[in-house]
């Protein structure tokens, strides 16, 4: 199981106990509204445990994004496939506005998408994005993903609460 990736500016590693405070802060704010938040500190802790446990169940999962030269993670990105997901997803969250606008999410999403394609052998990659999450929609488009109006969405969502963006394959 490959658990660490390197990009030009980032180290991508498995989420762990070092990420509790940042995850908790993120889920306390409206920034988390498109990914199941806001929730209180105890539920944020359980969400982080779920992200960590996904690695054990699937052999892969969301990577914590750590800028090189720093120790604290600033978000998550990577392969995500809970059991009610119709297809395999590349997801991303940047936890704080302090780290937005620097291309970190793009860099992490690209690296993990390549990893999913080349190492995990994924041939089908989508991103599920809530309507209104304009930053994520813009990033999906920059990554070359195209909205697929006919794709199934995870239960209990429908097209009014979840958009599907399909990533290009081969270009990865």
């Amino acid at each position: 199981m490959m658990t660490q990736l390197e990009t030009e500016r980032l180290t991508l590693r498995r989420p762990n106990h070092l990420d509790v405070d940042a995850v908790t802060a993120f889920y306390a704010t409206d920034r988390s509204q498109y990914v199941g938040g806001p929730v209180d500190a105890s539920d944020a802790w359980r969400k982080l445990a779920t992200f960590a446990g996904h690695w054990d169940l699937r052999g892969y999962g969301l990577f914590a994004i750590v800028p090189k030269g720093e120790t604290a993670a600033i978000g998550l990105a990577g392969p995500w496939h809970p059991i009610n997901w119709p297809e395999t997803e590349i997801g991303w969250h940047i936890w704080s506005t302090d780290h937005e606008g620097k291309g970190f999410a793009r860099e992490a999403a690209l690296a993990t998408r390549t990893h999913a394609h080349q190492v995990l052998g994924w041939t089908n990659i989508v991103s599920y994005i809530a309507p209104g999450n304009d930053r994520s929609i813009a990033l999906a488009k920059r990554l070359g993903a195209v909205q697929d109006h006919d794709a199934p969405v995870p239960t209990p969502h429908d097209a009014s609460t979840c958009l599907v963006f399909r990533h290009p394959m081969g270009a990865a």
Binding site: A49, T50, A52, G53, P82
Partner: protein
Amino acid sequence: MTQPTLTTNRLILRPITAADIPHEQAFHQTDRAEFVGGPMHPADVWRYIATQIGHWTLRGYGTFAVEEKDTGIFCGHVGPWYPADWPEPEISWTIMEAAEGRGIAHEAALATRNWAYDTLGWTTAISMIDPANTRSIALAERLGARHDGTFDHHRYGTMHIWRHPSPAEVRDAP
């Protein structure tokens, strides 16, 4: 940490795996799950098991899958559990129907309590139990635990705290 495997007379206590999930999903379809979060959609059970496993990453310990040596039956998950919303670390147990009435929960809880004391260095342990969960209360009593106050959980309501005998009391027991 690498999750250890413990053994008792009749049981193997090992890391929970994806293969255990169908048993947990079946359990969580029934009213038997009412005291451990209630009947739950299979997709939510999958995440709940991911949470159980991920607890190991965040705390360095967690619950074990309980497997019967002779039959290979998956009996449930038992052991140290300390999510952020718990007042202190507990020994927890969730037992599948196939393992009921044979002292399996007792054997597993005892082994994981000893492991928490001897290996993790816990100086005390509780179990949080719904006051209506008479089976679990009987097991807590059999483990020598005493009722020691209540805890109001934001989602599960008022839970009773049962405090286990200390490491010294366990050692000195006949």
